[in-house]
């Protein structure tokens, strides 16, 4: 077998977006030796695309805001399917995490009094989102990046982890390859933190970047961890629709936060019908379904979307508060948003489901395996509120960093890496070069994206989901024998072979959980079961795991019981 380099750390963090960076900084600060492994260059992760803001009850603009209200809003947004303890910790700790960023050099927009400014967002009772124009994510990742490189974290860029390694029931390392050379690399580690983000590239129309292929979900699943709530995929209400090249690119919710109005082709402000109280600032699940319905029923814009207009706020204001949106539409669509409306339609944006974790430490159901940020499940329940993702990755990034460092500190040094696991990993990775016959991974990927869009989209039915699951099984068969050209050096086709396997696992998980949950809740809308079924489905999470024979096991588990004092906070109906 070929030789490969080996690195040894207490903690390996996989993924260098906001969650991974925050986790790495924390674990390193706690004294652990930390390796941060990322698929792309440092600072390019999907967090750079987060636009509108980070939600934290700082109460700088609306003085009545507090963690309890943020907790209430988050639970209602998630239709009470959230892990209550995660939602509580998140609401309580987000303000401190945001202030901490400021101490590390972040420059948020200011109020007249000189404090961090906050803007309105869907589902948030008060103005709560700390922001920097419409490039908040970039500000956060740069701040964390600067902090990370000065706290002694070793960064391994353009390095892809393909397999997690175990010694008995606990984590012992990770195996992967360098993008540039194609050569394999082994990381010995006592603890691993997954911070790999989401799964959007399983769909054709998505706001997500190429990295979003469900790697962490699949690695955790293969390592025996539970995934929960995979049916809940957030379709962001406003993605671009035209021209085709930019279909799906995000149009920030900040447009509506700053007063943007949605209309159909009859000029009707249709949100009056769907949520007269909150209108455009209803939760994302509601707005996405409303736009979808308007278009379905023939009231769509010329390119099949809804109109979103912000021009009434005046050119100067729009350019100041929404500069990226102004440029995005000007350059990609030749639309001047200070004068004309945008056309928007739902786009796959975020997965609420993910690795089941302990709220306090972010440890998964596998010893030594931690998860934070989008790859972790539970925090957002059935629907995530805008702005809660950037705060989630800070709060639970820090917690995962602490959890992993403490775990690594406690266990002995005798975790072993087993040759057999490595041999299997190498064999699997090299197969596409050795196959004399097989499919082009790009073709199979396109097939999967079509299937997910057609059968597991915004509105779902039993029959369609069934068809989708069948289709995914066929694609899995096709994906099991792939053939690629070229060498191992920086070969995107080879890379896609592994990404595709991850996407097939998460896609099957999503489709099967969606098939199982016979109700509509949050982002999961069943045409054949259009209402909540609180008695049966309001009390359980969907759970996916790999059983001993290697098959995907689907079930449910009861929601953790919320303490009485928190129940009082969330009292009242949700929509």
């Amino acid at each position: 077998m070929e030789k490969f380099e080996t690195h040894t750390h207490d903690v390996i963090v996989i993924g260098a977006g906001g969650a991974g960076l925050r986790a790495a900084i924390e674990a390193s600060t706690q004294g652990a030796s930390v390796g941060l492994v990322c698929k792309s260059l440092l600072g390019k992760a999907h967090t750079v695309m987060a636009e509108g803001g980070v939600a934290a009850a700082l109460a700088n603009v609306d003085s009545k805001d507090d963690w309890k209200t943020h907790f209430h809003d988050t639970m209602h947004g998630g239709k009470l399917l959230n892990n209550w303890r995660m939602a509580q910790l998140h609401a309580q700790e987000a303000p401190e995490r945001v202030r901490e960023l400021e101490h590390w050099g972040a420059l948020f927009d200011r109020t007249k009094e000189g404090n961090i400014n906050q803007r309105a967002f869907g589902g948030h009772t008060w103005k709560r989102l700390a922001h920097v124009g419409d490039r908040t994510g970039l500000e956060m990742i740069r701040t964390l990046q600067d902090r990370g490189i000065h706290t002694g974290v070793d960064v391994y860029m353009e390095c892809t982890i393909t397999h997690l390694l175990k010694d008995g029931d606990r984590i012992s390392g990770a195996f992967g390859y360098w993008r540039e050379s194609g050569r394999f690399v082994l990381f010995n580690a006592k603890a691993i933190i997954l911070a790999t983000g989401g799964i959007g590239k399983s769909y054709k129309v998505t706001s997500n970047s190429w990295e979003y292929t469900g790697d962490g979900h699949a690695l955790a699943y293969e390592a025996g961890a539970d995934l929960i709530d995979m049916e809940f995929v957030q379709f962001h209400p406003t993605g671009m629709v035209w021209p085709p090249s930019v279909k799906g690119i995000l149009v920030t919710e900040a447009v509506r936060g700053e007063g943007g109005i949605l209309t159909n082709n009859k000029g009707e402000r249709f949100m009056e019908k769907y949520d007269p109280e909150r209108m455009e600032l209803s939760t994302r699940d509601v707005v996405a379904r409303s736009i979808y319905t308007e278009v379905q029923e023939g009231r769509g814009s010329p390119h099949g979307g809804a109109f979103l207009n912000i021009s009434h706020r005046g050119a100067e204001y729009v350019k100041k508060k929404l500069p990226s949106m102004y440029h995005q539409f000007k350059e990609f669509a030749e639309i001047d948003i200070t004068k004309e409306p945008m056309e928007v339609f739902p786009t796959t944006h975020y997965v609420m489901g993910g690795v089941r974790v302990d709220p306090e430490t972010a440890q998964s159901t596998v010893n030594g395996l931690f998860a934070c940020g989008e790859v972790a499940g539970g925090m957002h329940g059935a629907n995530r509120l805008g702005g809660n993702s950037l705060s989630d990755l800070l709060v639970f990034g820090k917690r995962a960093g602490t959890g992993a460092a403490e775990y690594a500190n406690k266990i002995n040094n005798d975790v072993k890496v087993h040759d057999e696991e490595i041999n299997n990993a190498v064999k699997e990775m090299l197969e596409p070069f050795e196959n004399t016959e097989g499919e082009n991974p790009y073709t199979v990927h396109q097939g999967l994206q079509d299937a997910m869009g057609d059968f597991v989209g915004v509105f779902r039915t039993k029959d369609k989901l069934h068809e989708g699951i069948e289709e995914i099984h066929i694609l899995k068969e096709r994906g099991s024998q792939l053939k690629i050209e070229g060498s191992r050096m920086y070969n995107p086709g080879w890379h896609l072979c592994k990404d595709l396997k991850s996407m097939l696992i998460v896609s099957e998980a999503i489709a099967r959980c969606a098939h199982q949950r016979e109700e509509s809740r949050g982002a999961h809308s069943r045409v054949d079961f259009p209402n909540y079924n609180d008695e049966v489905w309001g009390t359980v999470n969907s759970v996916i795991s790999k059983d001993s024979s290697g098959d995907m096991n689907l079930g449910t588990s009861p929601l953790p019981q919320m303490p009485e004092e928190l129940k009082k906070i969330v009292e009242g109906g949700y929509k």
Partner: protein
């Protein structure tokens, strides 16, 4: 359907050449779409770095018809389509493969810049107008197009003496942070080599974020260095005070 001819550089450190591909044009198509078409339909192993495809991450930099640009932001209909479109890797950095270059030098240099430092009694009050100066530079998406076009780095390969425009705005961003108390002037003058910039403004021209790199960052930084080290009045004062 009309067709664009793309001449994409294919090769590695050993050498290479342009390879021509026909790509059917769709409305609004950008150069990165065309490269993806080539990947999916002709050569699956063609190397290109990209992430967001929305001009927010700065990964997909290349030289299109000789101009440093983001491939995700360059629409085919802004280019003359009667002749082939050439796509080459950034010239200032060593090639890895095809359109991908080794930009690790930028990360090494960046580590040398002392981070944000604040005073103990800071009350964290800042006015919007004061944060805006730094915010302009914090828009940077690190595409390194400015580094690529800078003749000090590109033609004279002075990477050991000049940090380049990207790092100048990084230093400016920290220096102009209203609450920063770190002093980076000696670094600017010595290691970072701010004196090498002779204000041709090529960096400003290629910046996809339209940051006024030269006017708002480099010139003020040069002035700070000049005020500290070359101001005759200050020099006389220092002599008199004996410091």
């Amino acid at each position: 359907m009309s067709v664009a001819k793309l001449r994409i550089y294919r090769g590695d450190a050993e050498g290479g050449q342009e390879v021509e591909y026909d790509v059917p044009i769709e409305e609004g198509m950008v150069v990165l779409d065309a490269i993806h078409f080539v990947q999916a339909n002709y050569d699956g192993d063609i190397a290109v770095r990209w992430n967001c495809k929305a001009a927010k991450c700065g990964s997909c930099s290349a030289e299109i018809n000789g101009m440093p640009k983001l491939t995700c932001k360059t629409r085919l209909d802004t280019l003359p389509l009667d002749k082939p479109i050439t796509v080459h890797p950034l010239k200032t950095f060593p090639i890895m493969k095809d359109l991908v270059t080794d930009v690790s030098w930028n990360y090494e240099v960046r580590k040398k810049i002392p981070p944000f430092k604040y005073a103990k009694d800071t009350d964290w009050k800042m006015q919007q107008v004061d944060v805006e100066r730094s915010q302009e530079f914090r828009k940077c998406i690190e595409c390194y197009l400015c580094q690529d076009v800078c003749h000090v780095l590109r033609n004279h390969n002075k990477k050991n003496e000049f940090f380049g425009p990207r790092m100048m705005i990084k230093i400016a961003e920290l220096e102009m942070h209203p609450l920063d108390i770190e002093d980076r002037k000696e670094m600017l003058r010595e290691a970072a080599g701010v004196g090498y910039c002779n204000i041709t403004k090529c960096c400003t021209e290629v910046c996809p974020e339209e940051i006024h790199i030269t006017d708002n960052a480099i010139i003020p930084l040069k002035e700070r260095v000049a005020d500290t080290y070359f101001d005759p009045l200050q020099w006389v004062m220092k002599k008199i005070k004996g410091s």
